[in-house]
Symmetry: C2
Subunit: 180 residues, 2 copies
DNA sequence: TTCCTCATGTAATTCGTTACATGATTGC
DNA sequence: GCAATCATGTAACGAATTACATGAGGAA
């Protein structure tokens, strides 16, 4: 178990949806789950290799003609994946560079702090806009996804929306307070 | 610049408040900023050493009698720290193990998903309770902190409260939706 | 023919956590 | 005398990012 980590399960999870290549996995991360997960090639390929060595995934050779390496999850892999799913999610120690800066900002000018919060607010409003687009897309293509599928795409998205909204309202509260 | 990272600035930030030891820095992290930042000894001590080598901090020998190593930020260190403060906070790629699991949970029973969300809700309600206590403490000891100080402690705390509340309401929304 | 996307991988480095190791001091 | 806290550090490991390296195929 040379490389054992979160990536491991992210990969198994994607392969549990459907067999695909390392490249596809990266795309899935960037397109579908980007707002709460990220992966990079430098990690995907080595983990893919070690998962195969452990027998949790296997090569699928449809047409061996090309250089693509398509993988599928094995029974053993599915078992390990489901076990992981059922475990409670690990507590993740928070690390917000923004809050760290803010909490240390006593020596900055009021105006600098204002603009710091303002730009943070804008970032989150932009996020909100993106999420809105995604949500609209899911709504419009209701027929594409069945009700179950929709929940698993929609739920994390709602999470993003609600969180971003709460950040925006926090920003407003702080911008107000800072002028007093 | 052997060890250059966030820890670097977290340490400079704490030392910019007041000179202290590595041990004190750890305590500050655990007590004051734990809800949005964490550090561990294994990282603090080496970084402390390299910051000293770079001349950003220096030893303070009050009474050399004891084994304590008290550090203070230097002018050079303060300069670098303020420069960092003024830069916009780096975008941090999100990684939520909980959302990753949820989005991959299509093969779990509805009841399992319910309890997954429920326990997540409880975690955040507990957080909320802790934040409430801290907030009350600050309110009660208003005289201890001047208005400026209060803002920099209170603002991140409010952030935590607002965020946790939004998570709780998301959980309720999802628990409701899952039964439909 | 040039650029973009597809596609796979390695190496170097940095970053962060955990375990290990040690010992003084303080309060009960 | 014992436990808890104070106090400092190293080593090993594991995780994650970035840079590097390569090349095919298709579109403009």
């Amino acid at each position: 178990m040379s490389v054992k980590n979160k990536t491991r399960y992210a990969i198994l999870g994607v392969l549990n949806v459907s067999p695909c290549t390392g490249y596809d996995i990266k795309k899935y991360c960037d397109k579908i789950i980007a707002h709460f997960w990220n992966e990079n090639y430098g990690h995907i390929y080595p983990v893919l290799k070690s998962l195969q060595e452990e027998g949790l995934i296997e090569r699928v050779e449809e047409e061996i003609q090309d250089r693509k390496k398509k993988y599928a999850i094995t029974t053993k892999g599915r078992e390990e994946f489901l076990n992981w799913l059922k475990e409670p999610a690990n507590y993740q120690p928070a690390r917000s560079e923004f809050l760290l800066k803010l909490s240390f900002s006593k020596d900055l000018k009021r105006e600098e702090i204002r603009s710091m919060i303002l730009s943070y607010k804008e970032d989150h409003m932009k996020k909100l806009k993106d999420y809105g687009k995604m949500e609209a897309y899911i709504e419009q293509n209701q027929t594409t996804f069945d009700k179950d599928q929709r929940f698993f795409i929609h739920a994390p998205l709602r999470y993003g929306i609600i969180s971003a909204k709460s950040v925006v309202s926090w920003c407003d509260e702080m911008l107000n307070e800072i002028d007093l």
